[in-house]
């Protein structure tokens, strides 16, 4: 028997989750509700991962605070030189946002690869990060975009942290109970971006391997590049050596591509699992890099 403060499903009805849900109307209301909700608690955003885990009785806390409609978590806007994306904004809205399309090309291109259209009507970037799957498409793209998470602590203090620093392992983050990602902040720089993914099919596939890249060019020379890999390590991985090899080289140079292709395979640390093998994943990393560089080259700003 699981401890009573963990959810699961009632034996007579597998769709009835043993959870209590409160739905605060604002961020202020959230913290008031939080104070009178017994622990352990969990934030409910899109629910697309949480409800599945809860149904399988995977030790999920049974007191949920529904943050999906909190207005302060819905922003999609430019503030000075920063783009703000609310943590509970539905992915469908981001996918169709001209602002995301114009300024966050890797994130924009990742969206069609993310789960399915109805799931994107529910799922959120905040949830994608908090769930911390190493294959999370939203996480990989956010990292390539150089996004920082604004984390609100229960005492009202807020801290800013690069998204890639949130993760400590598969399904593990540095977030403590009641710490909430309220939004993501991304510098508005006008860069190019690409998102490449291999899955069993086009929709509803969890990545065998994914690669997100963003690049800043001076003419044809790569002045800066960020490359992140999904599903080939315990967390999303940054391909630092590959980036270094490409910086300063011409986009499309055969020599730097060959060197980068060797490096990226060495930077993966994949495993065999139900979706793919370590060998295949490693072998595909240069393929995705090559496709990403080709896309970056073709893209017109």
């Amino acid at each position: 028997m699981p401890p009573s403060n963990r959810c699961g499903t009632a034996s007579t009805n597998k769709l009835m989750l043993k959870v209590t849900i409160a739905k605060p109307a604002s961020l202020k209301d959230l913290y008031k509700t939080l104070a009178r909700t017994p622990g352990p608690r969990k934030f409910l955003a899109g629910g697309t991962d949480l409800c599945v885990s809860a149904r399988h009785g995977a030790g999920v806390p049974c007191n949920w605070l529904d943050i999906s409609d909190i207005p302060e978590l819905q922003a999609v806007k430019i503030s000075g030189k920063t783009i703000q994306l609310g943590s509970a904004r539905r992915l469908h809205d981001l996918e169709n946002s001209p602002l995301v399309q114009r300024w966050l090309p890797a994130l924009h291109k990742a969206m069609p690869h993310f789960a399915s259209p109805p799931l994107r009507q529910m799922a959120t970037l905040g949830g994608n990060c908090a769930n911390a799957s190493p294959s999370a498409d939203g996480v990989c793209a956010l990292c390539a975009e150089g996004a920082k998470a604004v984390i609100r602590h229960p005492n009202g203090k807020q801290t800013l942290l690069p998204v890639e620093k949130l993760f400590t392992g598969p399904k593990k983050t540095i977030l403590k109970q009641d710490e909430l990602i309220v939004r993501f902040e991304i510098p508005k720089t006008g860069h190019r971006g690409s998102y490449q993914k291999l899955g069993a099919r086009r929709a509803l596939a969890i990545s065998k391997i994914a690669l997100a890249a963003t690049a800043w060019l001076d003419g044809n020379i790569i002045t800066d590049i960020r490359i992140f890999l999904g599903a080939v390590g315990p967390t999303v991985l940054r391909a630092c050596k590959t980036e270094a090899a490409l910086r300063g080289s011409a986009l499309g140079s055969e020599k730097s591509l060959r060197q980068a292709a060797e490096l990226i395979a060495s930077e993966c640390s994949p495993i065999d699992d139900q979706r793919s093998t370590a060998r295949y994943r490693r072998a595909m990393s240069p393929v995705l890099l090559e496709r990403a560089l080709a896309e970056l080259r073709e893209e017109r700003l």
Partner: protein
């Protein structure tokens, strides 16, 4: 549209909540267990069994309903999250006793075989044509990529949606 308010979601006991929403145009106000998914709420509490459960984990799309015009997987959408929202299920497509053009097209074009996935396909197609009345074949294929059908091979479903888009069914 009224904003969700925590005042409306008073807890009457540990897990019970008062849920107010609009289902197929009718106001609904019920005390429910907050562990209910929207799917179970519709089927068990309201007897709207047109919406089906198949995979129960968002993979198949059989349970798609519209929540404030968004097609969502109701097996992963908690009923408590529907507070203050408008829900449309397959039962709500019919107007004045007459089938919706999509329903007529699905029947006439042979887009239904066993029929279990059909309500989900209808709701996703309905949402697509509402937001994009000129949806291309590629738009239709994309929009329906979260719905699985094991019988038809999809071609007749895509064709049926195209026929409705082209105004062949009224």
């Amino acid at each position: 549209m009224k904003k969700p308010s925590s005042k409306n979601v008073k807890r009457t006991d540990n897990a019970a909540i008062q849920l107010n929403c609009v289902v197929n145009g009718q106001k609904v106000s019920k005390t429910i267990n907050s562990g209910l998914t929207l799917l179970e709420f519709l089927r068990r509490e309201l007897g709207l069994t047109g919406t089906k459960e198949a995979c129960g984990q968002g993979e198949c799309g059989a349970c798609v309903v519209l929540v404030d015009e968004r097609p969502v997987n109701s097996c992963l959408f908690m009923a408590a999250q529907a507070e203050g929202k408008k829900i449309l299920t397959v039962e709500g497509l019919r107007k004045n006793g007459e089938l919706h053009p999509l329903q007529k097209a699905f029947v006439a074009e042979g887009a239904v075989q066993c029929g279990f996935c059909t309500p989900g396909f209808l709701m996703t197609s309905y949402a697509l044509l509402k937001s994009n009345p000129k949806a291309s074949r590629e738009d239709i294929v994309q929009a329906l990529s979260g719905n699985i059908c094991r019988c038809t091979g999809y071609e007749k479903i895509f064709a049926a949606v195209e026929q409705v888009r082209d105004g062949k069914y009224k």
